[in-house]
Amino acid sequence: MARLELDSVTKRFGEGDGSVLAVDDVNVDIADGEFLVLVGPSGCGKSTTLRMVAGLESITDGEIRLDGDRMNEQGPAERDIAMVFQSYALYPHMTVRQNMRFGLEESTSLGDEEMDARVDETAELLDITELLDRKPGALSGGQRQRVALGRAIVREPKAFLMDEPLSNLDAKLRSQMRTELQQLQADLDTTTVYVTHDQTEAMTMGDRIAILDAGELQQVATPLEAYHRPANQFVAGFIGEPSMNFVDCAVEEATLVDGAFRYPLGDEVGGAVDAAADVTLGIRPEDLSVDGADGDAAGGDHAFDATVTVVEPMGDENVVHLSLADGPDLVATVNGLRRIESGTDVTVGIPENAIHVFDGDSGDALHNRSLDDAELDDARV
């Protein structure tokens, strides 16, 4: 258990002109026992960051501290960190027991009986006791995953690093393991850094999520904060499924204009955006009201005529693709029990209290949705 600090961590591959900046000045402070999810599209530097923490990649610049101690120069073996890999990385010629004992044999001075006791205890925790004498080749994907976890847990390290550990599992097993991993982490109370490209995993598992793009840290926040108060357009678009709708607009006298599409702003939002010339309007699909039947938050000049182009029924909700008469295409989600046919004309409300406005150049959030009516306690957001 430990506090893990990443202080201006930078990674550059190669030297001179041909070098590639993979991780750019990342600062994260991970509290003891915290579950931090590092999320971003592929190639964003999240795995590289994790590998620097593990000691598998050198750190070009900055410092990584574990419990206040500088880790940069220490090899992976000296850091007392365990890692779970996407490929599980089990030793194929060893039984499950030998796999789990390997780390204990190499990094501790425990006696044979103590090691076996630790392995048995961990195996029981993960419910893999009956697999102990089998070799990895004889296990299913889910079982291998548990063994890989067990190999990390049995060493009782200061921190767990997980590199997309669930991405090789099928969807059903993945959601089951997601819950189990959360419980396990809560029980063990060990600092954990979890890398994924899957925003659902990020949202559901982490105490906090750190969103990376092109090597740069975009935001570190609780999942709900990242969802409702994204720091910029990238975070807003990355978190949430289906993605937030974006409409590029010009600001003209407290009105957002995109061709014939005109969206008048009230004083509060208008004040936030009046310094900018080009902005992007953002609205989550679930905040759009279709035909006003979902709620009457949108009135008069925030209501627009639209045609339904495609309906994707998901069961619990319908994803409705809309084409506004005045221009932009939007995606809305409505209750799964509502019947909406493609081709019908509807009225779409864009409630002003749910809109986000981002700067057109930098993408930074100028205004985030109001949460006045939300039942969120401040500690979580």
Binding site: A77, A89, Y91
Partner: protein, 294 residues
């Protein structure tokens, strides 16, 4: 489908192209096996027998004998022993060093490793003839027998020189063979081992080595055959007759006045037998030793 039906289908399938194909295949089998068969038959014939019959015919009545085998074995026995003393350590060491070098060049990362790898690959292509003179000069300079005043060294100096030479010249090809295998080993697994606290040496001993059994079998078969069958280095480097290896001894079964074909043929089979034995032994190991087999 019954056996009769199957046979009928098979026969029906024998159209003209197929028959021609089998005929060609059979002819090729006969062509390639003829020398072996002739040698085997000749080895069982008396001198009169091999003079009066064609080589591939079986020995005629009264001309059958196994005496050539006895003589061949007797005259090659020292050579067999010397060859074994020389080839077994040379094979094992070149495979082991090749494996270590391949591990260092493939699974560890350090500055300048590509340059070193290029040297290893270049080593594969060195023609033996090109190094004969420097090699003899090198060994006469080293002068093992003179430097290490031990009876066992001076008595076997030729064999030791030969063995070390084969190890040195075997390492490049062994390294290349092991490298292609080690390149397929999961990097994440080795990283997991590093995080588990294992040093580079421990990873080699506890993970790489146990997973290398199949490629060790391949390399051991290949190297043993190469080293056992080598004649060039043996002629050049071994001058002491008591250190003569089997290939040189076999060469001397050729009589100077009378050609004793039966003896030469029997000798050739005796000399080739160990490579066959090794092939059978490790061939099985190769089939069995697939990694992750449970």
């Amino acid at each position: 489908m019954s056996a009769a039906d199957r046979l009928q289908t098979t026969v029906a399938g024998l159209d003209r192209t197929r028959i021609a194909l089998y005929a060609v295949l059979l002819a090729m089998v006969a062509f390639y096996l003829a020398p072996l068969e002739s040698g085997f038959m000749t080895a069982f014939k008396t001198p009169d027998g091999f003079r009066t019959t064609t080589p591939f015919a079986p020995p005629p009545l009264g001309e059958f004998t196994v005496s050539a085998w006895g003589t061949a074995f007797e005259r090659l026995s020292t050579g067999l022993l010397n060859s074994a003393l020389m080839a077994v350590p040379a094979t094992v060491l070149s495979a082991l060093f090749g494996s270590l070098a391949a591990y260092g060049l493939t699974n560890l990362s350090w500055r300048g490793q590509l340059g070193v790898l290029v040297l290893f690959v270049a080593g594969v292509f060195i023609p033996y003839q090109a190094v004969l003179v420097p090699l003899t000069q090198f060994w006469s300079f080293v002068d093992l027998g003179g430097r290490i005043p031990l009876e066992i060294v001076s008595a076997n100096e030729g064999l030791i020189n030969l063995s070390i030479t084969h190890v040195a010249y075997g390492i490049p090809i062994c390294t290349v063979l092991f490298r292609s295998y080690y390149a397929t080993i999961d990097d994440e697994m080795l990283e997991a081992a590093r995080l588990d606290g294992a040093s580079a040496a421990t990873i080699y001993r506890r993970i790489i080595l146990p997973l290398s059994i199949p490629i060790f079998a391949v390399t051991l078969i290949y190297q043993f055959t190469q080293i056992w069958n080598d004649l060039l280095f043996a002629i050049v480097l071994v001058s002491n007759p008591s250190n003569q290896v089997v290939t040189v001894a076999l060469n001397q079964l050729q009589g100077s006045f009378v050609q004793q074909f039966n003896l030469q043929m029997a000798g050739a089979f005796v000399a080739a037998l160990p490579t066959l034995v090794v092939y059978v032994l490790f061939g099985e190991q190769f089939a069995k030793g697939v990694a992750g087999d449970s």
